[in-house]
């Protein structure tokens, strides 16, 4: 080999060593992913967690990783397939089993065993904890569990001659109130305020608002053995009609209902376009952030979801998980554990208003005596869940299709639900 060739090879080898050497900064970065980074009430809580943890753990750095609520699963699946997912992502309970089945979630059992096993887990609401167990493994610690209630504008109640201290308790009363609250406030001959904000957009949030009507009428998605659709029962049709006819027949819902998602409906409440919505504890802070001029804690009041034949409500339940693509699972667990400790969960309540599943937070005097939190907490015994089946996403999608078809008149409610019944049975392989 000639002398110049040897030099070039030597230079190339030296460059390769320099370029591939480990960086001097050996700090472990843990990507903490949530869609809440963009929500004003949450940002403070998240940033305080990030700063507190990073200051106390110089070897680990929690870094912000944003995801959008609507495509959080899409982002995580894509990143997981590339083995580059965030270390600690955030989901609702509906996604956990599907993601676990695909091998994207880390079994937390070994970490929990090191912390004391059953004694460590006894700190959480056991029913909520069960939702994290799947096929003998533990995929999460439960985070916030928030029953849905009715939020209403007391000022609008007074303007319509309704007593804010006596919110509607039954469906007929709810409809009566909604009709009285639907008004032309500037006397130009056009309705400009509606009694109730209803979600009709194709999103996860629709189920939570729709389920109390389906279940409240005595209906359900599936038969008790979970093997067939139960959407053809008279009770299911009754609940379905109630929800759809608020818009189609009684006109107590703003136009464009299938364009309204949870955030649009909260925006309508914040700006006085609607008077009542069915919502979550976090909505208190979100509505306040949407309209800072509104004193939400004074103007808004909460009440249980009006009752049909059965007292029942649905709930928002979310949890963090650790991804199997986490490069440093021990560091990820350290961050994960810190997020679920009492101080942070209490901070989440104080700042974002969410209810923790940690018993010491849930049963603390501060939570129990809070004007709004106690209304939400009182509904916990009435919470019901959608069926946790592999086929649920398809069944849920069939129901959203039916709701949209009924709301827009594509089909009469009976036909729309009949088609959802058939689609549900198809999804179940029948």
């Amino acid at each position: 080999m000639r002398w110049w060739a040897k030099r070039w090879i030597g230079l190339g080898a030296a460059l390769a060593v320099v370029l591939t050497a480990a960086p001097a900064d050996a700090q472990v970065k843990i990507r903490f992913q949530t869609w809440h980074w963009g929500e004003t009430p949450w940002v403070k809580s998240l940033e305080e967690f990030q700063q507190t943890f990073n200051a106390a753990n110089p070897g680990i750095q929690v870094v912000r990783d944003d995801s959008r609520y609507a495509d959080k699963e899409a982002v995580f699946i894509t990143q997981s397939q590339a083995k580059a997912a965030a270390d600690i992502p955030h989901f609702s309970y509906r996604a956990i089993r599907h993601l676990a089945d695909r091998g994207f979630l880390l079994d937390l059992t070994p970490f929990v065993e090191k912390e004391g096993g059953a004694q460590y887990l006894a700190q959480w609401d056991q029913a909520a904890l069960e939702m994290c167990r799947y096929k003998g493994k533990l995929y999460c610690l439960p985070d916030d569990l928030n029953p849905l209630v009715l939020m209403y504008n007391t000022g609008h109640f007074r303007e319509a001659g309704l007593d804010p201290a006596k919110p509607p308790t039954t469906w007929p009363e709810f409809l009566d109130y909604a009709k009285k609250l639907t008004r032309d406030t500037d006397n130009d001959g056009k309705i400009d305020r509606w009694g109730v904000g209803v979600i009709g957009a194709r999103q996860e949030g629709l189920f939570m608002r729709f389920n109390p009507w389906l279940w409240g009428a005595g209906g359900d998605y599936l038969t008790p053995d979970g093997k067939r659709s139960a959407l053809d029962t008279a009770e299911a049709i009754e609940g379905f009609r109630w929800y759809a006819e608020l818009f189609t027949r009684h006109k107590v819902v703003p136009p464009g209902v299938i364009e309204q998602g949870a955030q649009e409906v909260r925006t309508q409440l914040a700006h006085g376009k609607v008077s009542m919505i069915i919502t979550l504890p976090a909505a208190v802070g979100i509505v306040q952030a949407i309209n800072p001029k509104l004193n939400v804690r004074e103007v808004m009041a909460l009440a249980p979801v009006p009752v049909g034949k059965q007292k029942v409500t649905s709930a928002w339940f979310s949890m963090r998980v650790i991804s199997t693509s986490a490069k440093n699972p021990d560091a990820a667990w350290k961050v994960y554990k810190a997020w679920h400790e009492k101080d942070q969960q209490m901070r989440n309540f104080r700042i974002a208003g969410v209810l923790s599943t940690r018993l010491d937070v849930k049963n603390s005097p501060e939570v129990k005596n809070d004007k709004f939190a106690k209304v939400f907490s009182a509904q916990t015994p009435y919470v019901k869940w959608e069926p946790l089946l592999a086929e649920w996403p398809k069944i849920g999608d069939a129901m959203i299709t039916a709701v949209q078809e009924a709301l827009t008149g594509v089909k009469p409610p009976e036909q729309a639900l009949k088609d959802a019944h058939a689609a549900t049975n198809r999804a179940l392989g029948l």
Partner: protein, 293 residues
């Protein structure tokens, strides 16, 4: 003559195309092969070599997929007509020697610079019956127009509304191609036709259209491929609703993969979609091939 050719001479060409070939295999062939394999795998069975046609069988009996195919064809056809009419009209206008011609040409390109997601969100708000800008505008123009008229919530108008937004979003591609074609038609042909007594309409029919025919076909063939895959605009405007009235193939694949977690079924639908798209692309491939020969 082969005498004197070295190894370099014989293989240099291969070396030149190697990086591009590796890149194509990495970003095109490999993902396509994985998707094909996934579409033939039983649920959760990508790692094994057990193959099944079950997902294709399920696809052929899925009523939502059938509707998505119909919707996609209608969406593509209507969008192509809109793009051609608007693109040709504007190309003709922008080919005139007008003051500020460059500025107008730039302005006409603006929709092409806007990402689909942004266009979808903007149009969703334009069409919103409570806060939107379209209804107040129509009320000014048409006395008695209902203030809360629903566009995207209307079974009859949701699809046309999405197509309208897509025509606005996508016409510049066709316009630019046709404008380039118009500029290439020799002025002498128009002058000769005028001398022969041809009016504006006859000049358009007998000079402009024949001069543009190949470009129109190429533009429409390319546009068809683009529109067949259109995803974000539909997803952000309607999410496929009301019900499944605006569901197109790309949104169905997305839903099946990321929302239903049925990766294998979604891959089968994606393969079917690619096959149809390939067949539809044949005229373009033939045209380009002819141009080269």
């Amino acid at each position: 003559m082969r005498v004197g050719r070295t190894w370099h001479d014989r293989h240099l060409g291969v070396l030149f195309v190697l990086p591009a070939t590796v890149m194509l295999v990495a970003v095109l062939v490999f993902p396509a092969a994985v998707t094909l394999k996934l579409s033939l795998s039983p649920e959760g069975g990508l790692a094994s070599w057990t193959l099944t046609l079950g997902h294709y069988r399920a696809a052929f009996t899925d009523p939502v997929l059938a509707q998505a195919f119909r919707n996609t064809f209608a969406f593509v056809a209507a969008s192509l007509v809109g793009h051609l009419l608007l693109g040709l009209g504007l190309a003709l206008a922008l080919n005139q020697a007008l003051p500020g011609q460059t500025l107008f040409r730039l302005v006409a390109l603006v929709p092409w610079t806007i990402p689909d997601v942004v266009a979808g969100i903007v149009f969703r708000w334009v069409f919103n019956p409570v806060h939107g800008s379209l209804n107040p505008l129509l009320q000014q123009l048409i006395p008695g127009f209902p203030p809360d008229f629903s566009w995207l919530s209307s079974p009859a108008l949701a699809f046309p509304s999405v197509i309208f937004a897509n025509v606005w979003r996508g016409y510049p591609l066709v316009m630019v191609m046709l404008l380039a074609g118009l500029m290439a038609i020799p002025r002498e042909l128009y002058e000769a036709a005028a001398v022969d007594g041809a009016g504006r309409v006859r000049r358009f029919l007998h000079v402009t259209l024949p001069g543009l025919s190949t470009i129109i076909l190429v533009a429409l063939a390319l546009d068809m491929v683009w529109e067949f895959r259109r995803f974000a605009l539909v997803l952000t405007m309607t999410g496929g609703g009301p019900g499944t009235l605006t569901e197109v193939l790309s949104t169905l694949v997305y839903k099946s993969y990321f929302q239903f977690f049925t990766f294998e079924y979604a891959s089968a639908v994606a393969i079917l979609m690619s096959a149809v798209l390939f067949v539809l692309s044949v005229p373009y491939i033939v045209l380009v091939g002819r141009e080269r020969t």
